[in-house]
Amino acid sequence: MSAPWWAALTPVTTTVLCASEHRLRWEDGRLLAVDHPDTEPEIVLAALGGDEPECVRMVRAWARQSDDLAALAIGPRSADDDFDVSPAGLQTARQRRLIIARWRPSSAADRVRERLAELYELFSLGQPFTFRLLATVAANWVDRAQSARPALTAALNARLAPAVSTWLRMDPDGVDASIYEGSGWGELARTGDSLRAALPVRWIAAVWAAGLAVADGKLVVDVVSVTGPTAEVLAVSRPGAQPEPLTLARTYSARGEAGWQARKPRPTSG
């Protein structure tokens, strides 16, 4: 039994300039316009061409992008990735226009430009939101992975390879990842300098996006449950081994960065 894909992802909040400074909050797999308690009528109004408050626009953009595989192709591969599309990074918009304009006919390029502009706007909400967006995209492909297997294979490889490199201290190019479509957690097998890995798309959403990929020197392959700051996960200690339960506690560094640490079993008395 697995936890919902978003279980280990903590809620995050940011502000955008709407009627005034309003809050956008992501929790339980959804983006919410906190200061617009009833967004449904506003969304309907906006869809009919009415004025669209910024908060509502962002929520709609999130929904539109929530299965866009471009997010996984462009977005971060790890927390240490040099990925930067902060508002300052958006100054490269001209360059993006150049890139897009020459690989699509103009009408299609306009559509792609709009789609990517929206995606980059969501990226610019910051890393916590970006990871949650990527988790959302992956989660939305869990049940139809076979229809986008090459893109999802690349997305999995992109994120598993750096994790395995940390875990086994091996060349990330030696990771041969594929999408696991059976029941269970997947498979891992090492041959020489390479690792064959088959994991479900869910791994990106539930494990990687939550910063759980490697914990306590093990590769986490699934999240079983999350209660408050404690996560029960399945983790593999070495390729070829079966996953074992592991209890992790959420930690925060002095700079406020979230992480996970194995909870030591309490000594039993008597």
Binding site: A73, I74, V85, Q95, R96, W103, R104, P150
Partner: protein
């Protein structure tokens, strides 16, 4: 047939190249080497690329490897062109988001044009005149090959020799672009624009002028220097009847691609990216080492001394088509006649394209055919790698039975036009008086016989 395996291969390659780029310092701008949209291809075939090529540690190099792989897989029919375009473009965006952008303009696969050739009269007239004049007190000259007039544009195919030491841009701006062109109806044509390329010693290209002379125009006068009389170009000359389009049995797409690669090798001697192309197609499982198409390619490669991937070392050689053997038999020949020929032809529209042959220059080691196209071409925006499969296959045979493979060595493309320079290898037979040019497209083949009316101005 597009395959999931090939798409996965290309996506994983993009991933690997991104990882490699992230180990490198952030990129700084690398200036390109474009001139008026004209792309020099000859250097690419032997020693460098069309673009400023940096060392193996530049993110642009990974970008180029990916583009070569994308081109090869598309050309071999292993992946859909739009999917390949997305993969390369998203890779470029991923680099950009990490400040490892590539500055190899145009490396992402180009868009497909969709323009149809304009209706109306197309004319092509051979000229073969050399004009010598003084530029800055130093000798300069222009060799006029042909004039091509279509409903929407007119070009004068030229080879120019600027004065020794003169800057290319100055030569073009001060001496080529101000050329004066008028016609029998009193029309003064607007300032011409030169496009083309070359080196300090010679620039080959075309002067485009506006408006295009209408069907009623009988001649145009072209004057390059005030002190020189204008050269009169008679547009009323007899045009060859358009050759018929004949259907062809189309071989399997993969066979066709490999034969096109072999033809490129026959024309260029070696392809810069050949090893990369073959690695990609073998690794992605697109072709077997022992397939007939691979054996033909390997046979050509070995005979030309081209370095091939090690995994092909055991592939046995095979019999080659007659025309390939002819080209190999004359490898290194330098017996071509030197001069220009009044060789022009207007071809019928086929595969959505109108082609016009606008002159031929023969040199001891090769011949050059100038070709102008209207309609959709698959390669735009300067996108060309060795792996690119051109829209047409070009071969020629002179009246002494010598076959020549023709490869596009330079050109400029936009949504509706293509200006191309094709190199014929080996050189023409020294006594050649006519040349059959054979153009094979998707739907058919056209063979046009060009009488070689030699001029040696």
């Amino acid at each position: 047939m597009a395959s999931e395996e090939a798409e996965t291969y290309l996506r994983l390659m993009a991933e690997s190249e991104l990882r490699r780029a992230l180990t490198l310092p952030k990129a700084r701008q690398q200036p390109g080497m474009f001139r008026a949209g004209w792309i020099e291809a000859r250097a690419a075939s032997t020693s460098s690329a069309f673009f400023t090529r940096t060392d193996r540690s530049d993110p642009s190099d990974g970008m180029r490897r990916l583009a070569v792989a994308a081109d090869a897989l598309v050309a071999a029919g292993a992946i859909d062109a739009d999917v390949a375009r997305d993969i390369v473009a998203f890779h470029e965006l991923a680099l950009s988001a990490r400040d490892r952008q590539t500055w190899e303009y145009g490396i992402a696969p180009g868009r497909r044009g969709s323009a149809a050739p304009p209706p109306g009269v197309f004319r092509a007239v051979g000229i073969g005149e050399r004009v010598r004049f003084g530029a800055d007190g130093r000798p300069a000259e222009v060799l006029m090959l042909a004039l091509v007039a279509a409903p929407d544009r007119a070009v004068l195919a030229v080879i120019t020799k600027p004065p020794p030491g003169m800057d290319h841009d100055r030569w073009i701006n001060e001496f080529m672009d101000p050329v004066r062109i008028s016609d029998d109806q009193g029309t003064m044509y607007r300032r011409a624009m030169f496009s083309g390329g070359g080196d300090a010693g010679e620039s080959a290209g075309q002067l485009e002028f506006h408006p295009a002379p209408g069907p009623g125009v009988r001649f145009v006068d072209v004057a390059f220097a005030p002190e020189k009389p204008a050269v009169r170009i008679d547009l009323d000359g007899v045009q060859l009847p358009p050759p018929p389009i004949t259907p062809v049995d189309r071989p399997d797409r993969l066979d066709r691609y490999f034969d096109a690669l072999a033809a490129k090798m026959l024309g260029n001697g070696a392809l810069w990216e050949m090893k990369d192309i073959l690695h990609v197609l073998l690794d992605a499982g697109v072709i077997e080492p022992a397939s007939p198409a691979m054996r033909r390619l390997v046979t050509v490669g070995r005979r030309l001394g081209v370095e091939l991937p090690r995994e092909l070392a055991e592939v046995p050689e095979t019999e080659l088509p007659e025309r390939w053997v002819s080209v190999l038999d004359h490898d290194g020949a330098v017996d071509g006649p030197e001069g220009v020929a009044l060789a022009t032809a207007v071809l019928p529209e086929f595969d959505g394209t109108r082609l016009v042959i606008g002159g031929l220059r023969s040199l001891a080691d090769r011949a050059e055919l100038r070709v102008y196209g209207w309609g959709a071409f698959d390669q735009l925006d300067g996108h060309r790698t060795d792996a690119t499969l051109g829209k047409f296959g070009w071969w020629a045979r002179d009246d002494h039975g010598r076959w020549h493979v023709a490869t596009v060595t330079a050109g400029a493309w936009d949504k509706a036009h293509a200006d191309m320079s094709l190199e014929l290898t080996p050189p023409l037979h020294p006594d050649a008086t006519s040349l059959d040019v054979i153009i094979t497209g998707k739907t058919g083949q056209v063979t046009v016989t060009l009488p070689l009316d030699w001029r040696n101005p």
